[in-house]
């Protein structure tokens, strides 16, 4: 019996060696280990699967497997009218639904050659910036939680709630807001909207400082984030990475300044940048962005012009034959819509250029040679939303 077992074993070993001979590079070296992370994993922020090739604690290679949340949004668009597709875009980056709606509405407006009235532009800017803060707060809380700090999560979610309350009062929804319509906004601001927004700004300004007291000089935070996941400016540009990740690498580029849309050209704000392009700099950039967003909101809420909130749009939208690409600075980077019209009521093709999808591509470059624990930090710092990656 023992002999049979032995011979069985040796045969399989021989087969294994024979099989490996055929391959130029053996899939598994004695020192290498394949570790599967996700799709069900708390710190992949959704259903992302990463296949890690490890040498001990060191990451040799990381491969992302995506598509678990693919719903075919672009296909749906071809089978809906321009108006009907509007709510679908909120379901892509569901933590920044307002930005998605803004990008889509502006793209179609460009195609129709109309413009939203000034009052709508102002309200759009205020809500989008509020959403940027909400998105960054959610990112900060979960990112810190991934790394091991629990407290920031409670702080940021407590304050994000106030933004969601404003959204709820404005349009009835908290997350997938569908706040904007093609040609303006559906709803006039409610009584006390300005006061609510101002009160929120006063409330949250010291809170942002509070987040910083927890993390900016925290020794554990510094150890875990400084020099982790470094991405140089040149690599960012080559890989098409945008948003805070690009700015943390020292490239001063923001679509709100470079190609202003909505009402941004009327307000003063700065583009915060970093130098090292590591996880810590990206944290600083996003925190600074929250402050800049507050600055924009304060200026905007004081100067909302009078007038209609909805422009004149045809009842049946039939944009002329043509195609248009319009992009905005979403909280995660450049969010673009490429809309092709064939003159009918339904778009011929809608292509969404999602920032998360393109940014996620940089992951394998960022984690090469890093430790396993850093992978979690890097996924967090990229600020991806899988609803947008997979669409």
């Amino acid at each position: 019996m023992a002999e049979i077992l032995k011979s069985e074993q040796s045969r399989s070993t021989v087969e294994h060696i024979e099989a490996e001979k055929g391959v130029d590079q053996p899939f598994l070296d004695a020192t290498e280990l394949i570790l599967n992370m996700g799709p069900q994993h708390p710190s992949t922020h959704g259903v992302l699967r990463v296949i890690l090739k490890l040498d001990g604690e060191k990451v040799l290679n990381a491969e992302c497997v995506i598509g678990y949340l693919h719903r075919g949004v672009e296909k749906i668009a071809e089978n809906r009218t321009y108006t009907m597709f509007n709510p679908y875009v909120d379901r892509m980056d569901y933590v920044a639904a307002v930005s998605n709606g803004l990008g889509y509405c502006e793209a179609v407006e460009k195609l129709l050659n109309i413009e939203a009235p000034p009052r709508a532009q102002w309200v759009r800017t205020i809500l989008t910036e509020l959403n940027r803060i909400a998105s960054h707060q959610l990112w900060l809380g979960t990112h810190a939680l991934d790394i091991g700090a629990i407290t920031p999560l409670f702080y940021t979610f407590r304050d994000r709630e106030e933004i969601l309350k404003i959204f709820e009062k404005y349009c009835g929804a908290r997350l997938t807001t569908h706040a904007f319509r093609i040609g303006g906004c559906q709803y006039e601001t409610y009584d006390g909207f300005e006061q609510d927004v101002k009160r929120f700004c006063d409330f949250v300004t010291p809170k942002v400082d509070e987040y910083e007291t927890l993390l900016t000089t925290n020794r554990i935070w510094l150890e875990r984030t400084k020099g982790v996941g470094v991405l140089k400016a040149q690599d960012c540009i080559d890989l098409g990475v945008t948003g805070p990740v690009l700015r943390a690498s020292g490239v001063k580029w923001d679509l709100r300044k470079a190609q202003p849309y909505a009402a941004y050209k009327n307000f003063e704000f700065e583009i915060p940048t970093g130098q090292n392009g590591d996880t810590y700099d990206r944290y600083l950039v996003r925190v600074a962005e929250m402050r800049q967003a507050l600055r924009i909101i304060r200026q905007a809420v004081d100067s909302i012009p009078e007038g209609p909130i909805m422009g004149k749009v045809p009842k049946v939208m039939k944009p002329p034959v043509g195609e248009v690409y319009h992009s905005i600075e979403a909280p995660k980077g450049e969010l673009g819509y490429f809309v092709v019209s064939d003159g009918s009521t339904q778009p011929y093709r809608v292509r969404v250029r999602p920032p998360s999808f393109v940014n996620l591509q940089a992951l394998s470059k960022m984690v090469e040679g890093a430790l396993v624990a850093d992978v979690v930090a890097v996924i967090g710092t990229l600020d991806i939303v899988l609803g947008e990656v997979d669409r």
Partner: protein, 159 residues
């Protein structure tokens, strides 16, 4: 820029503008060279997006391949468009812009366009064994690879 490119490619390119947005319709045969020139000489250093549009009724030019480019130094955006026949390969631009890798994979996944020279051209959003390319016009909105669903999920239909 247009005059420079005109001098080089003559009638191979056709620059156009629509609602203030510039795009160049280029011949499929010169498109790779053109894109290389766009990056190296015209400083379009950021490849924003690569996508396709399907026009089944256009004979021998079923697909529009669209490269959306942006130049950081000039703060300018341009689209390069090439019309290709169904089944014809398109040169891959991964060697020019690293960002093209996943974008081309998605384009292959959704339209079945083969990018020649791509280091790892396989499906990205759909499962590897899936049959059909969903963003082609003949693919119905509720259509799916029911065989794949039956084998891998053990159900008759996902709808």
């Amino acid at each position: 820029m247009v005059t420079r490119l005109r001098k080089r490619y003559g009638s191979g390119i056709d620059p156009k503008t629509y609602v203030g947005q510039n795009y160049i319709i280029a011949d499929a045969s010169i498109v790779f060279e053109l894109l290389q020139v766009m990056r190296d000489e015209e400083q379009f250093d950021y490849c924003v997006d690569i996508t396709a549009v399907h026009y089944p009724q256009r004979k021998d030019q079923e697909f529009d391949i669209v490269w959306i480019l942006y130049s950081f130094p000039h703060n300018e955006r341009v689209r390069v468009k090439a019309m290709i026949k169904d089944g014809d390969p398109v040169p891959s631009v991964v060697a020019i812009w690293g960002a093209a890798n996943w974008l081309e994979r998605e384009c292959y996944d959704m339209f079945g366009i083969r990018f020649e020279g791509h280091p790892d051209l396989r499906r990205i959003l759909l499962p590897d064994g899936w049959q059909g390319f969903p963003l082609r016009k003949e693919y119905g909105i509720t259509q799916q690879d029911s065989e794949w669903v039956r084998i891998n999920l053990g159900i008759e239909s996902g709808q």
